[in-house]
């Protein structure tokens, strides 16, 4: 831009002396990041995952992950249908399949007898069958409601035949014990896990930054109070803290997990930000802000915060990775996502007993997806940190 001005302007006056605008921290960081190949590849992978998360969150893909489309433990397509696939059939009734049903005349009056009779028409009781009861199978004549039940069933059959969908013998990445598609579960699970990781990281970073800022800025007894609170929190074993918070919050869904992780994980950020605020508080620009009459809050958040924001960003990244992994452990301890939600943690938890049965695909899928994302995120965090604070990379290094 400076050159263009020089070309156009015939002469330069003092007022028109061009100067280059020096790029700010973020622009410089972005430039550095762009030249870091590993960092960019990682960023790309993370972005892909986040796009997948959004697509899955809006229901575009994997919305029907909970449908049981395959046989139990369906094998992955690239392996081929497993002749042993499916859980073993329920064994025949033990001990006495040949004993005919004994007739007991019952005196019990069924309060619903008239209603059930009304719901059905007239139907003669069918002969007794020795098979264990299944939908639509024969009824026992022992049953005082047999007629009534038979008629309801007849009614239902007349309406429409609800065809049970055929279950697929193989699925792209295999099926779990219920026959749900592992590929869809992995996609939906990544949405949950990443969301939990990001949200919990946001909570923890927010708390840590807020507390750290207040403690570091105000100092004296405020700092002492926060430090005391921090020491107490830190001294209690992390495991117990998690279990305690989990018990307090009572299982109410994914929000609980986010709160558990967020409310217990802020201590690291607190220390860091407090140190930063202590350092910056004494600097001249803050004194200058004071001189122009900026309030404490303004000084804390408008003046100082932008200078520590790169630390906060890196912390956010680190926490995300940590919390995604922690969610797996929480699931193992029984504080995972509720039953209608799937996450990598719940998948790995289910997969615990599957490897030894030879069903390795759910473990592999969730484990691999998590490994790819966490690796990419970690490498990206490294690149981010290097880009924002190049001193660490060293003068001699790349």
């Amino acid at each position: 831009m400076a050159n263009e001005i020089a070309l156009k302007a015939p002469a330069r006056t003092a007022r028109e002396v061009p100067h280059t605008v020096s790029p700010g921290l973020w622009a410089l960081a972005w430039k550095r990041l762009k030249s870091d190949h590993v960092g960019m590849v990682s960023l790309a992978i993370v972005v892909v995952f986040i796009l997948m998360m959004i697509a899955s969150g809006t229901g575009l893909i994997a919305g029907d992950w909970s449908k049981e489309v395959g046989v139990n433990y369906a094998a992955p397509s690239f392996i081929g249908a497993d002749i042993e696939a499916g859980a073993p059939a329920a064994p025949a009734a033990p001990a006495a399949p040949a004993i005919p049903a004994t007739e007991y005349k019952s005196d019990v009056v069924d309060p619903l007898a008239d209603v059930l009779a009304e719901l059905k028409g007239e139907k003669k009781p069918r002969a007794a069958s020795a098979e264990p009861p299944a939908a639509g199978a024969g009824e026992k004549s022992v049953d005082p409601l047999a007629d009534v039940m038979a008629d309801i069933r007849k009614d239902a059959k007349d309406k429409k035949a609800e065809v049970a969908e055929a279950r697929l013998p193989t699925l792209p990445l295999g099926g779990d014990k219920w026959g749900r598609d592992v590929l869809k579960k992995t996609i939906k699970g990544s949405e949950t896990s990443i969301f939990v990781g990001l949200a919990a990281a946001a909570v923890a970073t927010f708390l840590g930054t807020l507390f750290g800022a207040i403690a570091g800025y105000y100092g004296k007894w405020v700092d002492d109070a926060f430090n005391w609170f921090y020491s107490v929190f830190n001294a209690i074993p992390y495991l117990l803290l998690i279990l305690a918070v989990a018990a307090v919050l009572q299982q109410k869904g994914t929000l609980t997990i986010i709160l558990i992780l967020g409310l217990t994980g802020w201590t690291g950020t607190f220390r860091l930000i407090r140190g930063e605020y202590l350092k910056h508080k004494a600097r001249e620009y803050v004194q200058a802000a004071d001189a122009i009459g900026a309030s404490n809050a303004r000084r804390m958040f408008v003046h100082i915060f932008p200078n520590v924001s790169h630390v906060v960003l890196v912390q956010l990244s680190i926490y995300t990775v940590g919390f995604i992994k922690a969610e797996v452990i929480l699931s193992f301890l029984g504080f995972g996502v509720p039953v209608d939600v799937v996450s990598w943690g719940s998948m790995l938890n289910e997969a615990q007993n599957e490897l030894i049965l030879g069903k390795w695909w759910q473990l592999a899928a969730a484990g691999t997806a998590m490994a790819i994302l966490v690796t990419a995120f970690s490498l990206f965090t490294d690149a981010l940190r290097d880009a924002l604070d190049p001193k660490l990379k060293g003068l001699a290094g790349a």
Partner: protein, 437 residues
């Protein structure tokens, strides 16, 4: 209250001499012999309690008796080590074979031996299924309780897989004298009560539950559907009885429609008066609890009822249950002693806040129960039990679920082992062949 006064005279309980305890009853109690044979009930010398009791008054870390083994080491929740008691009077193994074909082999291995043969027993507590099974297959364990999740690895439909048979591993298997059942809190405003519409609600839920699928997927085939409130192996059980409660989601839906549980705009049913309907299912935060949640989620979805899961630790579940504050849960009861009364008492009105976790008080049921209480095992009592089973099916405080198989894996070198459903320790009746390692 406070400490127990062991010197106080209690009418009916009398230590006649050093080796005799006399109990006098005011009225017949046919269950007393069973209760006395039950493991937690033992007569213990007073000097032992005085010497070893801890602050809780318990002496379980120093049991002193005349049995075949003594406790040598106890690392809580980890390991128990027993060693043969040298002062034990001993006995000669002299049991007769029953109808089971495997009995003949056991008699051949053990007849005439002076018991106990095994000198040292180490019992390990291992929570993880994989650890347990791998340890057994590696030869690190002689006996192992095979739980459902890994059963498909070594069992084919109830018998050992060919590779296990080739190694000479034996299987001791029978249906445990226990029932699992889903109960609804009869004192709960949403699901409880004896009005027709509440009965219809419960029966619809019962009809919508696919027990066969639970057995197949959750239990890996290691259970049978419970038809009668008294399980196999317990006096009063009727193997030919078939419950009238059948899996029929269409009928369940029709029943709910009929009683005014209309579906709202969101596809979920409301109460007949239009208020929202939400069922709270309570379960433990472990792997089984999660699978139970999934089973019931499918069930409720198939009849259009909104469901919410309440997760609590086991201790908390028990507390809320005993206070009748839960709405619905899946519970199990294993026989303390092999008499049907042990099961039928679970719905007796006077046991509310104790073992009656459905908090049920059905007048007809209670009347029949009190009559049955006065009877020994007999066709008359069985008839009463059948009536009571019908009442359970009709009023639906419960939906019977399953009875699980007990599978014990036995290494080839263990001789004479046959798992007993009620007597839980077989140590004094088995032997180990030292040569085959």
């Amino acid at each position: 209250m406070g400490s127990f006064d062991y010197a106080a005279k209690i009418p009916g309980l009398e230590a006649v001499d050093r080796y005799t305890l006399r109990i006098r009853l005011k009225q017949p109690d046919y269950n007393l012999p069973y209760v006395l044979a039950h493991e937690p009930t033992s007569a213990v010398a007073r000097e032992i309690v005085a010497a070893y009791a801890d602050e809780g008054g318990r002496i379980m870390s120093n049991p002193v008796g005349t049995g075949p083994y003594k406790l040598v080491k106890w690392v809580r929740s980890s390991k128990i080590v027993l060693e043969a008691n040298p002062d034990y009077r001993g006995f000669v193994w002299d049991f007769k074979a029953g109808s089971d074909p495997e009995d003949a082999q056991i008699v051949k291995e053990m007849k005439g031996k002076k018991m106990p043969q095994v000198g040292r027993i180490e019992i390990s507590i291992m929570e993880e299924d994989q650890s347990r099974l791998l340890a057994f297959q590696n030869g690190e364990l002689d006996l192992m309780n095979l739980e459902g999740p890994l059963a498909p690895k070594v069992l084919n439909d109830g018998t050992l897989s060919p590779e296990m048979k080739k190694k000479g591993v034996k299987l001791s298997r029978f249906v445990d004298p226990e029932i699992s059942y889903h109960y609804w809190n009869m004192m709960d405003p949403v699901v409880g009560g004896l009005s027709k519409e509440k009965i219809a609600l419960r029966r619809a839920m019962a009809m919508a539950y696919p027990v066969a699928e639970e057995i197949k997927v959750v239990r890996n085939g290691q259970a049978v559907e419970a038809q009668f409130p008294i399980p196999p192996g317990v006096v009063g059980h009727d193997a030919s009885y078939k419950s009238s409660v059948k899996y029929d989601p269409a009928a369940a839906n029709a029943l709910l429609d009929k009683f005014g549980y209309k579906k709202g705009a969101d596809g979920y049913r409301t109460l007949p008066d239009g208020k929202p309907l939400l069922i709270r299912y309570a379960s433990r935060p472990d792997s089984l609890g999660r699978q139970q949640d999934e089973m019931w989620k499918k069930t409720f979805d198939s009849i259009g009822i909104r469901m919410e899961v309440q997760k609590e630790k086991f201790a908390e579940l028990l507390k809320l249950e005993k206070q009748c504050k839960l709405q619905m849960r899946t519970a199990a009861w294993i026989a303390d002693y092999p008499d049907g009364d042990n099961f039928m008492q679970l719905l007796y009105g006077r046991n509310i806040y104790q073992s009656n976790n459905a908090c049920a008080q059905i007048p007809e049921y209670d009347k029949l129960y009190e009559q049955a209480l006065k009877m020994p095992d007999s066709p008359e009592r069985n008839r009463l039990y059948h009536e009571m089973a019908k009442i359970i099916e009709t009023y639906a405080p419960w939906r019977l679920d399953i009875s699980r198989y007990r599978n014990m894996l036995v290494q080839p070198r263990v001789l004479g082992y046959k798992k007993h459903p009620i007597l839980h320790q077989e140590w004094a009746y088995i032997d180990v062949a030292a040569e085959k390692k």
